[in-house]
């Protein structure tokens, strides 16, 4: 099996969870990875300070889209004010694959977008 494109990565890429639009929503953000043009947006509905529902949307490589899908399943139920403090490792650990430096931003785009939606600061997450 390929070390990067594992079955579950490809499964999330081909059948992404929590993808689409969400209306009405409380929070939203849209961003892109200028290196490769991956695009990702998010709509978030908040209840009692927690993420009740979210939908990612966009287009990009398997890593960026699968990472968003995998992260989305963990993000639901999480307190909104904790998102900004999530480190880059949170995503890469979830993915469970070795990400080369050239693909790192693909994997982290979803967290960048979530940080933007919840804090207004869409800087790249650090380890």
């Amino acid at each position: 099996m390929d070390a990067l494109y594992r079955d579950y990565i490809l499964d999330h890429y081909k059948s992404p969870r929590n993808f689409g639009e969400l209306d009405p929503h409380d929070l939203e953000w849209h961003d892109h990875n200028p290196l490769c043009g991956d695009e990702l947006g998010v709509h978030v509905r908040v209840e009692d300070g927690k993420i009740a529902e979210l939908r990612f949307h966009g287009q990009g490589c398997a890593i960026s889209q699968a990472a968003a899908s995998i992260a989305s399943e963990e993000l639901v139920g999480m307190p909104v004010d904790e998102i900004g403090g999530l480190p880059a490792d949170w995503v890469t650990d979830l993915l469970g694959i070795d990400i080369s430096p050239t693909r790192r931003k693909c994997a982290l785009l979803n967290l960048k977008v979530m940080r933007g939606a919840t804090t207004g600061d869409a800087s790249w997450p650090e380890s």
């Binding site: 490809l10 490769c36 043009g37 287009q59 490589c61 398997a62 050239t102 693909r103």
Partner: protein
């Protein structure tokens, strides 16, 4: 010539040492990203090495032997670079790259000659380097930036050019000679002639053309022609702007500093003569020497042979790539109408993943928007994968690419 049986004219892979290395996986490297930057032959590497070992000094000022030798090497390179493109030496200006060459025109000519109500005309197949400088010029001056469209087959329409020019507001036309995405070989001499007849200044971005085609600037006759050394088997850090003498003489300098002045007083200065008026500060001397060696190398191969080689590989790729299921090739289908660059997309796979999986097989291709985001939007894709060729590539390299693409599809379960 049957494109499927002909053998490429050139067999010069051994001249390019970097191609000897193996990739991480221990596979021989297939380098198919020459449109981004070409590899360098020993002759170029040695010329720069020799310059630093034997002849390094600052140019144009020193009276000692070493300084004279460095000056001769640099100015000798300029003469050969100018001759290589069929242009006059004194109006062949060295810049940092093609981007800086285009910015030179946008600042030194554009700011003085373009104003509110004027139009700058470019096309939808331009590289960002031939978009953004004009956007900045138009934002600052109140001029309007207009684009010529690109057809389904990736070509420009001269009728559309004529109709925009006929409106009478175009002050400058800037167009790419060979598209870095579509490979399209544009009829630049025709575009220049029509634009000049309408009173517009003409700029051609030849970054992808000079490395692979015989380019005779006296025949194209643009007011400005820009290209970059590193795509033409030369070093990074040096580009070229060939300009029309009458226009250059009227222009103010681009950057101020040493070397570009005639005389400096406390309040004002006078400008050096051409080309040095546009070369402020210490020049990229070793890079100039390297570029001189690069054009010597290409001239030695013969640019007709280089073109024949590129055409053969392009034709072969256009035959072989569509054998991959659900692969779509962009750009003109006729290899006579395009340079050695082929962009494509695989259904169900993002180009970034395609390039990553090709890398596992030792095949270096580019994925992304290729600094041409407006064109990507026109083509309706977020990005493409792109293979581009130079003299060191062979049909076997294309075969390796096709094998890697087939394997990539199986990884994705396609």
């Amino acid at each position: 010539m049957n494109p499927l049986t002909a053998t490429p004219a050139l067999d010069v892979r051994a001249d390019f040492p970097v191609l000897e290395r193996l990739t991480r996986g221990g596979k021989p490297m297939v380098y198919l990203d020459s449109a981004a930057t070409s590899q360098k032959p020993v002759a170029v590497i040695e010329a720069m090495n020799d310059y630093y070992r034997r002849s390094n000094a600052n140019i144009h000022r020193g009276v000692y032997e070493l300084a004279q030798e460095a000056t001769d090497l640099y100015e000798g390179a300029r003469e050969r670079v100018a001759a290589f493109c069929g242009w006059e030496t004194a109006t062949t200006i060295f810049t940092r790259n093609a981007t800086e060459a285009i910015n030179l025109v946008a600042y030194a000519w554009g700011r003085a000659n373009v104003g509110p109500g004027d139009e700058v005309l470019i096309t939808h197949m331009e590289h960002h380097s031939n978009i953004v400088p004009w956007q900045m010029l138009c934002h600052e001056t109140g001029a309007r930036l207009r684009y010529l469209g690109v057809s389904e087959e990736g070509t420009l329409s001269l009728d559309e050019l004529d109709s925009v020019l006929a409106e009478g507001r175009v002050k400058l036309v800037s167009v790419v000679h060979v598209s870095n995405v579509l490979g399209t070989l544009n009829p630049v001499a025709d575009i220049v002639a029509r634009s000049r007849a309408a009173g517009a200044l003409t700029v051609v971005d030849g970054s992808q053309a000079v490395p692979q085609l015989p380019v005779d600037l006296s025949a194209i006759d643009a007011d400005f022609y820009a290209w970059t050394g590193h795509k033409a088997v030369g070093p990074t850090g040096i580009g070229v702007l060939h300009g029309r003498r009458s226009v250059l003489e009227e222009m103010r300098p681009f950057l101020g500093g040493g070397d570009m002045i005639g005389r400096v007083d406390f309040e004002s200065s006078t400008w050096n003569e051409l080309p040095w008026k546009f070369e402020a500060g210490t020049s990229p001397i070793a890079e100039g020497v390297g570029l001189g060696a690069a054009v010597d190398y290409l001239s030695g191969l013969g640019m007709e042979n280089v073109r024949a080689h590129e055409r053969d590989l392009t034709a072969y790729a256009l035959e072989r790539l569509p054998t991959i299921e659900s692969l779509r090739v962009f750009g003109p289908p006729d290899p006579d109408q395009r340079g050695g660059v082929v962009s494509f997309a695989l259904e169900g796979m993002h180009p970034h993943d395609v390039a990553d999986l090709c890398d596992r097989e030792g095949v270096c291709i580019r994925a992304g928007h290729h600094c041409a985001q407006p064109l990507m939007r026109m083509m309706g894709v977020p990005a493409t994968a792109r293979a581009s060729f130079h003299v060191y590539n062979s049909r076997e390299d294309v075969d390796r690419l096709v094998e890697a693409l087939a394997k990539a599809r199986t990884v994705f379960g396609l």
